[in-house]
């Protein structure tokens, strides 16, 4: 990783400078391709949800089921976790040491778990109000969209734990570094998906 390396990616331009591509750029760009394919999946589940918003079949609708306070806390937790992950990325980039990186990752993990806790609480409240996924087309579409994002956050948390364990055992080597960079992309991407969820699903439904 000398200063020679330029940020070119094989995916877009196989040109004369192909030999400049380093592993870091290659691996991270491949992960971007995965993220964008994931974005298309989310886009289509969003479209399904939008077509189902009025299909409540006489059951409870958005205004009966959603709790704006809880969504505000979830949004804050995820946004803070994005920021603290950024601090972990900076600690890694500027070689602030293993303790700083692990420390910020643990803080991020706690915000992620706070988010998941409130989300599970939301889902249980919806079940209690008779708005489970089997109630109507609307609730089915809701429970295919929002928990899909929740599952992504859960897998991000598991990945974070794995990286922390790897760092404790092996220190910060090249693989761990690439892992932290890719999880950063994943985590910030999930925050962007959450913007769409709180805007389209929750705020749109309560407006």
């Amino acid at each position: 990783m000398s200063g020679e390396t330029l940020g070119t990616n094989p995916g877009f331009r196989l040109r004369a400078n192909y030999h400049h591509i380093n592993r870091e750029d290659e691996v991270n760009f491949g992960f971007w391709v995965f993220l964008m394919s994931d974005a298309i999946i989310f886009g289509l589940v969003f479209a399904t949800y939008e077509t189902m918003t009025r299909a409540t079949a006489g059951g409870p609708g958005p205004k009966q089921l959603y709790d704006i306070g809880s969504v505000a806390i979830e949004t804050g937790a995820l946004l803070m976790s994005s920021f603290t992950y950024g601090l972990a990325s900076l600690a890694l980039k500027y070689n602030s040491g293993r303790r700083a990186v692990i420390g910020w990752l643990v803080v991020t993990l706690l915000f992620g778990l706070l988010f998941l806790g409130f989300e599970v609480h939301d889902f249980l409240t919806m079940f209690a109000k008779g708005g489970g996924p089997d109630r109507s087309g609307f609730t089915s579409a809701f429970f295919s969209l929002v928990p899909l994002h929740g599952l992504h956050v859960t897998s991000g948390c598991i990945w974070m734990v794995v990286l922390i364990v790897q760092m404790l055992r092996r220190g910060i080597d090249e693989d761990v570094k690439l892992g932290v960079q890719r999880l950063a992309l994943f985590w910030h991407f999930l925050d962007i998906v959450w913007i769409a969820i709180f805007s389209l699903v929750y705020l749109g439904g309560l407006a």
Binding site: T8, I40, T51, L79, L92, V180, D191, I195, S199, G204
Partner: protein
């Protein structure tokens, strides 16, 4: 000529050897957080107090969400052409076109069907 230099910019800001100082990078994240909090709080307040009609609320929510997504891409994912991640920006824009066509088309066609049925 050296067009890789022209297009490529710096390596990934997430790590490694790229330039820039710690303060400058921290500045980007702090600005990102401040803007994101503002762009989140405003639509929540608008909806909670219901200060407008539903239709204008939807437009406001959509606008704030779009701007916030751009802020996140710029400050957290460092998609910041022409300095960083130009390839990634092309990939993101291509994905946006695909999503607009597929999701927008779905909502359009099914919405049309819905109005014809009632």
């Amino acid at each position: 000529m050296n067009d890789a230099h022209h297009f490529g910019g710096q390596p990934h800001a997430g790590g490694g050897s790229s330039g820039g100082s710690y303060r400058k990078d921290l500045h980007t994240y702090v600005w990102g957080l401040a803007l994101a909090v503002t762009l989140t709080v405003v639509p929540f307040v608008l909806v909670n107090w219901h200060v407008m009609t539903t239709a204008s609320l939807w437009i406001a929510i959509g606008l704030f969400a779009l701007i916030q997504a751009v802020v996140h891409f710029r400050c957290f994912l460092h998609v910041n052409p022409p300095h960083e991640h130009v390839d990634e920006m092309l990939l993101v824009l291509f994905t946006v076109i695909i999503v607009i066509m597929m999701s927008g088309g779905t909502v359009w066609i099914l919405g049309n069907l819905h109005t014809r049925m009632y």
